[in-house]
């Protein structure tokens, strides 16, 4: 009798972490879907801006908020910690012109009308409850991309 009680206790000790992990993973999946949705919305809004001003990227260093796709992405849902990257990147540009140069050449060649631009938004501050999972599997970190044609 006493021995059996001990067995049940050990069984619970083994199963409890597994059950708790299942619960937290389930909650995390819901949270990731939620952030994914917010990131997608932010990316759409940034891409809407980027199709007219593809070089207006925060990484440019010369384009300042509110004249950046980064700012528009962040303000869409009020998530100021969202991080925006774009391909082609504008990080090599030395200026932030108010209009795309007619002859989009040189450093501006990637931003010529008709090219595609892909805007990717991520949430580096988002943490899983099962934090370790993201350390082991970095691709779990939620992000969203939208590709549009430069006008």
């Amino acid at each position: 009798m006493a021995g059996e009680q001990g067995a049940a206790l050990i069984e619970f000790a083994i199963l409890a972490p597994v059950l708790l992990l299942l619960v937290f993973v389930t909650i995390d999946v819901g949270r990731v879907f939620r952030v994914q949705e917010q990131l997608k919305n932010a990316a759409w809004e940034a891409a809407n801006y980027a199709q007219y001003y593809p070089w207006a990227q925060g990484s440019n260093g010369h384009c300042q908020a509110p004249n950046t796709m980064d700012w528009h992405a962040q303000q869409e849902g009020g998530h100021t910690d969202f991080v925006v990257t774009a391909n082609p990147s504008a990080s090599a540009l030395a200026t932030c012109p108010t209009a795309n140069p007619e002859a989009a050449n040189g450093a501006f060649a990637p931003f010529a009308s008709g090219n595609n631009i892909t805007v990717t938004v991520s949430a580096p501050n988002f943490k899983l409850l099962t934090t370790l999972a993201m350390n082991i599997l970095p691709w779990l970190a939620p992000k969203a991309s939208v590709t549009v044609k430069i006008q």
Partner: protein
């Protein structure tokens, strides 16, 4: 003297009686959590449906919150009504089944600086620069112990339609 088998059966039932409320609580909690996540998504979609209407019909936009609006001359379908409800209706059409929408407020936002100052939604708006903001307050459908103080807000800001021009 009792046999060991009878003892064992009794303890299994007792164990189930102790554990089952905990299991049910976890189970119901998960369902409630999923419903709240679903409602959040619904409101998130609804608020952007409202904003999308706002970016193409901006001069009709800022009246629902009850603030005086200069733009109604350009809003014939509501003919100067202080209750232009199209944006609110668009929000509620999408976010009505799971979430309880308790309030919709709409304003235009100055897009030329980062302070998000309010701007009248009238002819002073520059398309492609200024933003429209739709903010929804709502409560989750599950009024349970899991979600105390349930009022939540969700907002969307979108670039008012037109070719964007850089300020300054």
């Amino acid at each position: 003297m009792r046999s060991p088998r009878r003892d064992e059966r009794g303890s299994a039932i007792l164990e189930f009686a102790i554990v089952s409320p905990v299991l049910f609580a976890i189970f119901l909690g998960l369902i409630a959590f999923c419903v709240v996540i679903g409602a959040e998504n619904e409101v998130s979609n609804g608020v952007r449906d409202g904003a999308r209407l706002g970016i193409i019909n901006v001069t009709c936009a800022d009246s629902y919150s009850g603030s005086p609006n200069q733009g109604h001359d350009d809003c014939p379908e509501e003919s100067n009504s202080p209750n232009y409800t199209a944006i609110s209706n668009a929000v509620k059409a999408t976010a009505g089944s799971l979430a309880h929408v308790t309030g919709v407020s709409v304003r235009c936002v100055d897009g030329t600086d980062t302070s998000l100052a309010t701007k009248l939604c009238n002819s002073s708006i520059t398309p492609g620069v200024d933003l429209i903001e739709v903010k929804v307050t709502w409560t989750p459908p599950v009024s349970s112990v899991y979600f105390v103080g349930g009022t939540k807000t969700e907002l969307s800001r979108m670039l008012i339609a037109g070719l964007p021009t850089l300020s300054s």
